[in-house]
């Protein structure tokens, strides 16, 4: 490709996407006007869902291709700025868009581990990987491992690792797609998954990386507008300036004062005491459940009998009978209820200071909290620098220098959302402390009344001490509420809620696109073309990849429909696995010529094995299935398994490489080749 046409291409791109942004804004204004004229909420939801999915599919159809380099690496002509946006959308998943602010809202400072981890990882991408992978210039990550270390064993391990972590991650995305579509359109969860999947498939199947790239740019623009609009509005409301990210320090101080006020408020103390008493009673009952069950039942029966005997008023008798009816039917049911009530201890605890790092009851607990914070930061960072669907994006730039600049743009665009999330959490908390707490149950803020009705798992307010006034201890919030309800909290029209839903959908779809493509490419390119049929024609390779894409997507949707476990753990596990498996062989492959085939094979498997071993032995999901449980190492939670996997993997590569012969001259020359952007003969 000549310099001239690349320039013309860049200009054309800028023009196209400027028109696109303008068109999108006009679309929003038109919908807002339609809402004023009486368009119903359900229809706004439908219009957003179908208009955006149709847009993504449209881009897919326009970018359809059957050429290998277009299909796998978008023709290697994606300029740095646009690759940055595409990476941003690829990167920010449903968990970032919807979950992040909620996590920060609920856990305060400790949630910042994800904010730091998911941004700081890009420093490692920039310094250790992106420019070198671009110079290497093939199609996938197993490609690099195969070429650098030689042979099919390492390639196979690479394929397995790439598929494992991408698949775990894609399940979490499809789950997010189903959740958003079902919530905002009232469609069933399963149908929501299906519609979203349709959008993903049309796009990635027809045009591979080329279509996915241009769709992701479009999706980034939607998701960032959607995230910023309500925050800016809420910021003007509480800080008076439209850039609340800079000014929310004042709001944070106010939140701190309100936390102290809440912790000292006698009514709050009263509610917390009720929780504590309930929890204590449950604990006592659990010590001897059989006796406690019988005692409780006798007491209620006696109560009914004595009221009847004393000829008490009918309503008192019927209340006593109701209480007896509500009593658990057998001991097992009672035990279940008590175990639940035992958990109320958490709600009896005072509010934690939002900005306070590593809370704990003593020095040892605080130390463990600190280690876990840093452990998560470590795993998220190195995982970022090892997830194949992200690294693959840096194959698509026109040059090594563009790849470097592109990492800068990637982080910049990701940063915009991640430095807003902590701000949103603080603003939302302030709003709830001032407008929700202390309001009367008869006249809750409109958004609170609406959300509590829609989904009690997101917002549940019960008048525990029956005083008719909302105490903070009476409010239970699901993390996802924060982003989803912000437009209503800020008092914006429903069209902004629709926009936020469209943004969340864009975040989930774009990540799912990238991941599915990674899996399909690992199978079609690395497994089929490189290992099974090296003479396959280009048309055949692309066709096989497209067919695999459908199979993988349907499998992932099927696994999602089983609703497996905790999404945050799934995501964390994907990062820990990627960090342990990929980071050491990739980085040593570039920076240490002596790293050889057997070092990489044994080191990579050891890293993966250690990581998996730690998760299996400590995560309740596995230990409940019969895997013998073991104590945590240094108190580190299973999500941070990469803290052990990565260093052990790295050391193993070094030791085994030193014990076996150095790689041949050809390999050493490959290393030199990737180290210099353009190695000209002297």
């Amino acid at each position: 490709m000549s310099a001239f046409s690349q320039k013309a291409f860049n200009t054309q791109l800028k023009k196209t996407y400027s028109w696109y942004v303008g068109g999108f804004l006009i679309f929003l204004v038109a919908l807002a006007i339609a809402e004023q004229m009486g368009l119903s909420k359900a229809w706004i939801g439908y219009v957003f869902l179908f208009a955006t999915v149709a847009l993504y599919a449209g881009i897919g159809i326009m970018s359809r291709t059957a050429e290998v380099s277009e299909y796998y690496v978008a023709g290697r002509r994606v300029p740095a700025l646009f690759n940055g946006m595409a990476t941003g959308a690829d990167w920010m998943s449903a968990a970032s868009f919807i979950g992040m602010a909620g996590t920060l809202f609920l856990s305060g400072f400790d949630g910042l581990a994800f904010v730091m981890g998911w941004t700081g990882g890009y420093c490692l991408v920039a310094l250790f990987l992106a420019p070198y992978l671009r110079k290497f210039g093939q199609f996938t990550i197993p490609d690099f491992l195969g070429a650098r270390y030689g042979g099919n064993i390492i390639r196979t391990i690479g394929i397995i690792a790439a598929i494992t972590c991408s698949f775990v991650y894609v399940v979490a995305q499809i789950y997010g797609v189903g959740l958003i579509t079902s919530r905002f359109t009232g469609l069933e969860f399963g149908i929501g998954v299906f519609v979203g999947l349709g959008g993903i498939l049309v796009c990635s199947m027809l045009g591979g990386m080329k279509a996915v790239t241009w769709t992701q740019v479009a999706q980034y623009i939607i998701l960032i507008i959607a995230y910023m609009t309500p925050v800016v509005w809420l910021g003007i409301k509480h800080t008076g300036i439209p850039v609340p990210q800079i000014a929310y320090g004042v709001t944070l101080q106010k939140v701190g004062e309100l936390e102290k006020k809440i912790n000292a408020d006698p009514k709050e103390l009263e509610v917390r005491k009720i929780f504590k008493d309930k929890a204590d009673a449950a604990n006592a009952s659990l010590k001897d459940p059989a006796k406690a069950y019988a005692d409780g039942k006798t007491k209620l029966e006696q109560n009914v009998a004595s009221l009847k005997a004393a000829n008490a008023p009918a309503d008192q008798v019927s209340a006593a009978e109701k209480a007896l009816d509500a009593y658990p039917k057998d001991e097992a049911a009672a035990k279940g209820q008590w175990t639940k009530e035992k958990g109320l201890t958490a709600r009896a605890a005072p509010v934690r200071a939002h900005a306070d790092p590593y809370p704990g009851k003593d020095e040892a607990a605080r130390y463990t909290a600190k280690l876990n914070f840093l452990g998560i930061v470590f795993c998220m960072m190195f995982g970022t620098a090892a997830l194949p669907h992200i690294l693959m994006r840096y194959y698509t730039t026109p040059s090594v220098q563009e790849a470097r600049v592109s990492v800068f743009w990637s982080l910049f665009f990701i940063f915009l959302l991640y430095f807003t999330a902590p701000c949103l959490a603080v603003l939302a908390k302030f709003d709830m402390f001032t407008n929700l707490v202390g309001s009367s149950f008869a006249s809750l803020p409109a958004w609170a009344a609406a959300w509590a009705k829609v989904d009690p798992s997101l917002l549940n307010i019960t008048d525990i001490n029956k005083d008719g006034i909302v105490q903070w201890a009476e409010v239970v919030i699901g993390g996802d509420l924060i982003v989803l309800a912000t437009p209503e909290i800020a008092g914006l029209p429903y069209v902004v809620s629709g926009l936020v839903a469209a943004g969340g959908l864009a975040a989930a779809l774009s990540t799912a696109d990238g991941l599915l493509l990674t899996i399909a490419n690992a199978l079609s390119h690395d497994l089929y073309y490189k290992m099974i049929d090296t003479n396959a024609s280009t048309a055949r390779r692309v066709t096989i990849s497209k067919a695999l894409l459908v199979v993988v997507a349907i499998t992932a949707a099927w696994v999602t429909s089983l609703k497996p476990g905790d999404i945050l753990f799934l995501v964390g596990a994907a990062f820990s696995l990627a960090a342990s498996a990929f980071f050491p062989p990739l980085v040593l492959g570039v920076f240490w010529k002596r790293a050889n085939k057997w070092g990489a094979i044994i080191g990579m498997s050891t890293g993966l094995a250690v990581c998996l071993y730690y998760m299996m032995r400590t995560y309740p999901f596995f230990t409940n299935m019969g895997v013998p449980k073991m104590d945590l190492w240094f108190g580190l939670n299973p999500i941070s398994a990469g803290v052990f996997g990565l260093p052990i993997g790295l050391l193993t590569i070094i030791i085994v490489s030193m014990l076996t012969p150095a790689p041949d001259k050809e390999t050493q020359e490959l290393v030199e080749h990737v180290r210099y952007p353009n190695l000209k003969p002297a």
């Binding site: 490692l124 840093l374 470097r404 430095f419 190695l679």
Partner: protein, 88 residues
């Protein structure tokens, strides 16, 4: 191909800038994280410093680190004649 003295020099400079930037990254990530509790005693722009760094300060520094690296390496490529011409 046999590497010249200039090539080795280029690679050495690359390693130096990588190490320098990586140390900054390490400090604003792990050292800052380790002392977050102590840093919170200081107020910065109305924020407790430990909170500010983890929520915003470190992030800004990460962006700057990558920007410096991309610029420095772009110049280094030209200086040592290993750049890719104007194609990019």
């Amino acid at each position: 191909m046999e590497l010249s003295q200039r090539h080795h020099e280029y690679w050495r400079k690359n390693l130096v800038i990588t190490a320098v930037l990586l140390s900054i990254w390490f400090v604003v990530t792990f050292v800052e994280g380790w002392y977050a509790r102590e840093l919170n005693a200081i107020t910065f722009l109305g924020f407790p410093l430990g909170f500010y760094m983890s929520a915003q300060g470190s992030l800004v520094i990460y962006v700057v680190i990558i920007w410096i690296y991309a610029n420095y390496m772009g110049k280094l490529d030209k200086e040592f004649d290993v750049d890719e011409g104007d194609l990019g």
